[in-house]
């Protein structure tokens, strides 16, 4: 097959009137991996996925799927499945009819898997979709996304309204099915810790910009928190990039970017400092907050000029 990456964007930007929904997004994502597209509500996750699936248009830049612009290109579109978080279904459709339609269009559709998931999610397939609860509506989207087995599948906050059990079913089934039928999966989420185990590669988007684009493994342990006597903490972290600072009296807790060497660990022990790893969620939260602060800082500087 083609050597082109599954997903490629070059200087992709999208402007809605006065809002910069996407700002110079550059991505190159090889096929057959699980990607996490993380960020706050309104960060640009859905906009990015809409453009990648030809449902929306970029203001500037390019988006390519397997080397083709997806817009109005049926052969490329047929390799993609993207069910929006707020997906609309025909008014009179039942879940079973939506699955029937999906079976018509997605060549790799697996009815057995779909039926299996229907049972697992306890989905009433004979009820009209517009009468389903939020969780059941999400389940319809999850089932279409999974059973379509499209070469690139986008899940847009697929867990909304699903209870903890149903969410676990989704994560477990996704991993299971991915192992059997490897494909490119983009999972957009703001429940970061919940999905962090699934992800091979993490993309964090904030205010339309890519803030983190790294392997999940790299991010694990990419930051740590040091807690202890404020002076000693300052001494220990001198010259490091501080992501976050908490202080209480003479105690300080600093979140610092970087990897710990064995020597540093010994040094921390000698100084009586506590070291703790930072979860992916913490890292994302700190990074996005910092990105926002940097931006405000730059804006203030520009304002002063």
């Amino acid at each position: 097959m083609s050597e082109a990456p599954a997903i490629l964007t070059r200087a992709l930007s999208k402007t809605y009137k006065d809002v910069r929904a996407l700002d110079n997004v550059n991505l190159e994502l090889p096929a057959n991996r699980i990607y996490g597209l993380l960020g706050r509500n309104g960060a640009g996750k859905t906009t990015l996925m809409s453009i990648l699936t030809g449902q929306n248009f970029a203001t500037e830049g390019e988006a390519e799927i397997f080397g083709h612009t997806p817009f109005e290109h049926d052969p490329t579109l047929s390799r993609i499945c993207f069910i929006r978080e707020s997906q609309k279904y025909p008014d009179d459709f039942k879940a079973s009819q939506a699955f029937k339609a999906a079976a018509i269009f997605f060549e790799n559709w697996n009815e057995e898997l779909a039926q299996d998931l229907v049972r697992a999610f306890n989905l009433p397939v004979k009820r009209r979709i517009k009468k389903l609860s939020r969780g059941q509506l999400s389940a319809v989207g999850v089932i279409i996304g999974m059973a379509s087995r499209a070469e690139i599948t986008f899940f847009d906050e697929p867990y909304l309204g699903l209870d903890a059990v149903a969410r676990q079913i989704f994560y477990d089934r996704l991993i299971e099915d991915f192992a059997q039928f490897p494909r490119t999966i983009v999972l957009s989420s703001h429940l970061i810790d919940e999905v962090s185990n699934l992800l091979e590669h993490v993309i964090v988007i904030d205010q339309g910009r890519i803030v983190i684009n790294a392997e999940a493994e790299e991010l694990q342990g990419a930051a740590f928190t040091v807690t202890g006597n404020a002076q000693k903490v300052a001494q220990f972290t001198a010259g490091c990039k501080v992501l976050h600072r908490d202080a209480l009296g003479s105690l300080a807790s600093l979140t610092v970017q970087g990897r710990l060497s064995d020597q540093q660990r010994r040094e921390a022990a000698e100084l009586g400092l506590d070291l703790s790893p930072v979860s992916l969620q913490q890292l994302v939260v700190r990074s996005t907050l910092n990105a926002a602060a940097d931006q405000n800082g730059t804006m203030e500087q520009e304002a002063r000029k």
């Binding site: 809409s50 699936t53 030809g54 449902q55 929306n56 248009f57 109005e72 290109h73 049926d74 579109l77 047929s78 390799r79 993609i80 499945c81 993207f82 069910i83 929006r84 997906q87 609309k88 279904y89 025909p90 008014d91 009179d92 459709f93 009819q97 939506a98 029937k100 339609a101 999906a102 018509i104 269009f105 997605f106 279409i144 499209a150």
Partner: protein, 231 residues
Amino acid sequence: MNRIIKVARMQLINKWTFIGIPLLVLACSFLLTLAIWAIVRRAGAEDSVYSGGAQAPMWYFLALGIQALTLTFPFSMAMSVSRRTFYLGTVALFSVCALALSIFYYLMGLVETATSGWGVNGQFFALGWVAENNAVVQIAFYWVLMSLLFMLGFFSATLYMRWRTTGVLLFTISLAVVLLGTVAIITYGDHWPAVGQWLAAWTAGSVTLLGAGLAVVLAGASYLTLRKATA
């Protein structure tokens, strides 16, 4: 081509929308008309009786044009169908359905004439002005009328999809202004008698041609509008 047919199959998943409801509307409208005629005859009327009931399903097509788009277009995007394929599949399916119904109208018109107006000298399917033409013109007349109404609904729905309420409002307001302007020009220029003559000269054939032209313009405009619409 294959995916165009798939779009038609998707639109037909709920058979009521495209087939069941129009037939039901037609059947009810016809039976109610027959009942009214029976009552009228009982009351002693002797002239032949007419009904415009055959147009009832046609108005449903206006609604169908809107529905086919607003409800199914966002879903078809999720099914990874391009706008062009969605458009072609939907319009083609409608054309086939409308053609089938037009032929049915024509055949029922033949039955109506053969049974001297369902035994009560009524005209439901074979209205004189249309039925006096040959089969092709009759079928084309119904077909074009149905397509025109469908495209009208479809076009206004694409306006909504592309520019939401603002687009529909602007379009209807401009249309109203243009119509009012036309009326004003005719009135101030004392052209009404000429317009009357012009209207009276229309035949089923020329109405069909004009309607077909309008339907094609609407179809083209719908496609161009839909091409940049977002779900």
